[in-house]
Symmetry: C2
């Protein structure tokens, strides 16, 4: 019940135990094409360039940033949590110039502040985390997308913690690149990063298209300055995922099977039903926490539906509660980072854990563990309040 | 029966269907520590820093190069195949200055040429592929290791195609960093890159150690110029794999389970027994190919034991043979790259495919397919010659 990585859906575990095929076998490249089509559904996009990057969710982030940014490019980073800082850190390693739009942890940023920065800096790219699990808040991406369109900036969105749990409408957002991972609401393991890229962003990336030395023929030298990474060179990765099938990495087949099964499950359930299930589970968790006399962290109007920050009450040992949840009940809850370290626990309701029994078990266990700490909640109040939301 | 990716060992497939744990759960970090110990055995090393990078084998290569090289550093690349060019391409993207020691495809490089280049350039790093499947040749790493030691250069070795199939003695080689993948002789899927790092190389990498922005406290700013990649910043990745457990990526748990099971299987079989099995299967394949009246590519004295290049005889359709092997017999054999494209097939004997029945089936099928092309080998000669090697 942490904020990801979470328990994996049993069908995804089974998909990973399927025997491999050669990476250019027509059956296997057929699965690659299926993955592209499936993730267009998951990202609610028509983008041709929709596939997976072979690595964890931050591999997707780095691929997006290193492939779009050149040294000296300006980037505006909307920063309201740990993972906003990660975007800035990666952009700086691309030798881009970062301008921050700072938001308070636990709040949404003011779109006007984003617009002011974009108008002033005229950045190549605006980068923003959708739902940052470190703060439990979802940012207003749609407003930022409109700002980027008005000012001709590309928009990158990190949807690691929300894809498959909250709506991530890449096209409606006017987002140019959106990346994610499997280990949160997609219900899979870490190690594969879904990505979708608009034609506009793809054109920009292809302006630095090169053919790898070992495959190049005379005249195929390429355009512009080489992208600073080979592994994350999205122009090459797109050439590999295209009908050209130009050899790049050896596709991580088992993770591809996992990504495929995650998307199939999401689309079979239906996006709206799935978002509603996550919203209900998150609302039930919130109601249960509050009925226990605890306080939920952050701006409730913009709280992610799939993670709930619980403020540690005075006199209660933060680490011991977390440890006892794990050792006595085999339930993991998350710690917090940065200014919230030691102050809030983060409880996820993601993927297979966004279900009634998982919410009720967690609340019942938390009530017991807190009682051992001397924090006595009204008996059964958390469970009953949550059950009321599900009823 | 290609040169990797290959069929995965059934135990590895099962390991990937195990349910996940939180990334800081003591049970899970225990598995991470086990992986470190297991790969010390596989790499024949005492190196403390022995773990896996979350990505395909080229993720391991890029992590090694981007974490050791700074802009302007000199690197000597021993280049005798497609994957030597890849090392150079990645080093150039690190803005390092590449000096090539060129070897002929299908031959070993002359260590004296390496020594001359190292003495002249005084590089930070020498980079070499051990066994390059594009040429089927294994390079004399031990001699290069001695040269690097004499001249104070770090040695990086790409052992993707040989680890678990041929001896990769990192310490005896005096190699500073060795990386690999699972998808060849380790018998696993692509997507996890084992790496081992000497203390000397680790000290060098830690001279650019930084704490990630989202985790940094005042005073933890770090040393030197930031490594150009966050995802491949080995200083951060080592801090994550150390007792500090400083959060970096979310470890790809299913791939970690796969990497662990691969290493367990390798060590249970025993390194010497495993190398002997690969050598026998490769020798049997070679004997069979020659008994069919075909010619094996490259310098036989330095041929990798786990891949055999077969020169396509005149009058035979290269692509159709490969296609019919797959469509009629469900046996994949590999095409070739660069100067060998369309000229040799590459047949692997790796992992679970380094076994008698796999070799015999492949030779029997190839005899039939070649006969359809008008190339008539003596009936059963290939199979009989291979069987003789196994007997």
């Amino acid at each position: 019940m942490g904020p990801g990585p979470i328990n994996v859906h049993p069908r995804v575990l089974r998909a990973m135990s399927v025997q491999l095929l050669g990476q250019f076998d027509p059956e296997f490249t057929g699965y690659m094409n299926e993955v592209m089509a499936l993730y267009r559904g998951v990202f609610q996009t028509q983008n041709r360039w929709t596939f997976v990057v072979d690595g964890t969710s931050r591999a997707g982030i780095e691929a997006a940033l290193v492939s779009t940014l050149q040294p000296g490019d300006d980037v505006v980073v909307v920063n309201a949590g740990r993972f906003g800082l990660l975007l800035a850190e990666i952009a700086e390693r691309c030798d881009a110039r970062v301008t921050f739009v700072e938001g308070e942890w636990g709040q949404v940023v003011d779109p006007q502040a984003v617009e002011d920065a974009v108008a002033r800096v005229k950045p190549r790219l605006v980068a923003c985390v959708h739902g940052d699990t470190s703060t439990t808040i979802a940012q207003p991406i749609e407003a930022i997308g409109e700002i980027c369109e008005r000012h001709g900036a590309l928009l990158y969105v990190d949807a690691t913690a929300t894809l498959g749990g909250m709506s991530v409408p890449a096209d409606a957002w006017k987002a140019d690149i959106v990346t994610a991972g499997l280990q949160k609401c997609m219900g899979g393991p870490s190690g594969s990063a879904p990505i979708t890229i608009s034609d506009k962003a793809a054109d920009h990336i292809f302006s630095r298209r090169h053919v790898e030395k070992g495959l190049a023929t005379p005249g195929s030298a390429g355009n512009g300055r080489r992208i600073a990474s080979n592994y994350f060179d999205l122009a090459m990765i797109m050439d590999y995922w295209s009908d050209k099938r130009l050899n790049h990495h050896t596709e991580a087949a088992s993770m591809l099977f996992a990504a495929r099964e995650c998307a199939r499950i999401v689309l079979e359930e239906g996006l709206e039903a799935r978002f509603a299930r996550h919203a209900q589970a998150g609302a039930a968790m919130t109601a249960g926490i509050e009925a226990m006399g605890l306080t939920v962290y952050g701006d409730q109007a913009h709280k992610m539906t799939n993670v709930t920050g619980v403020i540690t009450p005075a006199g209660v040992d933060y680490d011991r509660v977390k440890a006892r949840m794990r050792t006595e009940f085999e339930i993991e809850i998350g710690a917090a980072f940065g200014p919230l370290a030691g102050k809030i626990w983060r409880i996820g309701t993601m993927g297979v854990n966004a279900r009634k029994h998982a919410v009720l078990q967690t609340l019942a266990a938390l009530e017991a563990v807190l009682r051992w700490e001397g924090f006595v909640a009204p008996a059964g109040a958390g469970v009953d309040a949550a059950l009321g939301v599900f009823a």
